[in-house]
Point group: C2
Chain length 248, copies 2
């Protein structure tokens, strides 16, 4: 029986994966990738057996259960199975569920943390999630555009609106209007700064900045598409102090 490695591939830039992730990719007998690992794919040596889960899932209607079973099957055929996951496996990556499934099926596994895009995508555009006197709490949730409907309602928006820290919403572009509405309804000011970062740490990375009051309109006008990271809070304004303004 082989071992399965659930490996954080980080935010997309191949230089932002860990030395351990890089080593495991080189040593792997088979590497599973999905749509969220972006440029990291280029680190996989030529000739290595690669399974594109994103593609496989689409063609064969592979569910999460199917992916789980595929990993179990592969562990019976290969010594080292590396499953690359965008960001960190344990931050909304279903890594916990996959690990429990592997353990329940008697498969040896290891989890390798990665740099989550919740932190790295804002950093790429000069937004620090914490800042003395501005934000001393960071909350990460998902906008759940890829989840069942009941999950989005399990979020306590009132508590989130009252946190007085930074809010990061992953996978929130599809439901942007609903998410913004929830925050406004529970008392966040319409002037609260919002940034939407599309494809952070890829060559096509882009930021759109606005406020809770206008971001739905701005994002629609700019045709912002998933995957994107949304940052809500006054730290968005720190960006102005950090970026160079060539026009000035």
């Amino acid at each position: 029986m082989g071992k399965v490695y659930l490996v954080g591939a980080g935010p997309g830039d191949p230089e932002l994966i860990s030395l351990k992730a890089y080593r495991l990719i080189q040593e792997a007998d088979v590497v599973l990738v999905d749509n969220l690992v972006f440029g990291v794919k280029k680190l996989i040596p030529e000739g290595k057996k690669v399974i594109d889960i994103g593609k496989t899932a689409k063609e064969h209607k592979l569910s999460q259960d199917g992916i789980n079973m595929l990993m179990v099957d592969l562990s019976e055929q290969y010594d080292k199975v590396v499953r690359l996951k965008g960001g960190d496996p344990y931050i909304f990556g279903r890594g916990g569920e996959e690990a429990v499934f592997l353990r329940e099926h008697g498969v040896d596994f290891d989890v390798v943390p990665g740099i989550t895009s919740a932190v790295a995508a804002p950093a790429y555009f000069s937004i620090p999630l914490t800042y003395r006197g501005i934000s001393s709490a960071v909350t990460v949730i998902t906008g759940h555009e890829m989840e069942e409907k009941e999950e989005i309602d399990s979020i306590n928006w009132e508590a989130i609106a009252n946190l007085t820290g930074t809010l990061v919403i992953l996978m929130g572009v599809g439901n942007l209007a609903k998410n913004v509405d929830n925050l406004l309804k529970h008392g966040l000011r319409a002037e609260t700064p919002v940034a939407v970062i599309e494809k952070g740490f890829t060559e096509d990375a882009r930021i759109v900045v606005g406020t809770l009051g206008n971001i739905v309109e701005v994002a629609a006008k700019e045709k912002v598409k998933p995957p994107a990271v949304i940052v809500v809070g006054d730290v968005v304004n720190v960006r102005e102090k950090l970026i160079l303004h060539p026009e000035k």
Copy 2:
């Protein structure tokens, strides 16, 4: 004028720094380290100029302003100045403040994200911060044992206690009793699972598990010391499904 790189050194395991951080360490003319970068120090090539900020600060009573000025001074003497910071520079690492200082002093800089110990230390002990049906929100705060007193009171404990997600407290061991008291006072159940992870991802890493009701006593008995990461929430119980029990 040289360039200053604020580089996330990750949670302590030298294999968990990014390829980019590793490259910058090799290329640097001078590397600034502090007490939180642990085993990463061994990646610095022999003969490289290293300044230990932790030690320097202690001997010369170097304040944050002093560290900031030191970076500016070094940028005038060297081409590449690498400042290694434990975890991620923008998650309670004062990276934002340092970056603003550098920008205001006309110093070119770059920020390289790292794996935050808020995520990696729990992962090391098989605690996923999110888990379907158990937690769909993660909040990270600091217990502020190294901060001024007013900051700890700026946290909205009521909102945090009502989040129904996972709470991670960094630097919270010194104020453990006060932090626990704040959570209980605002309605979190005494049975809420709590894990305290000491020195996650170092050779001396250790976990202590309890509940909000007994963790102060348990941590005292086990003589838990900083640095530690505290996890509060039902995800702590997922650990039981993931770890192997050799006795069974």
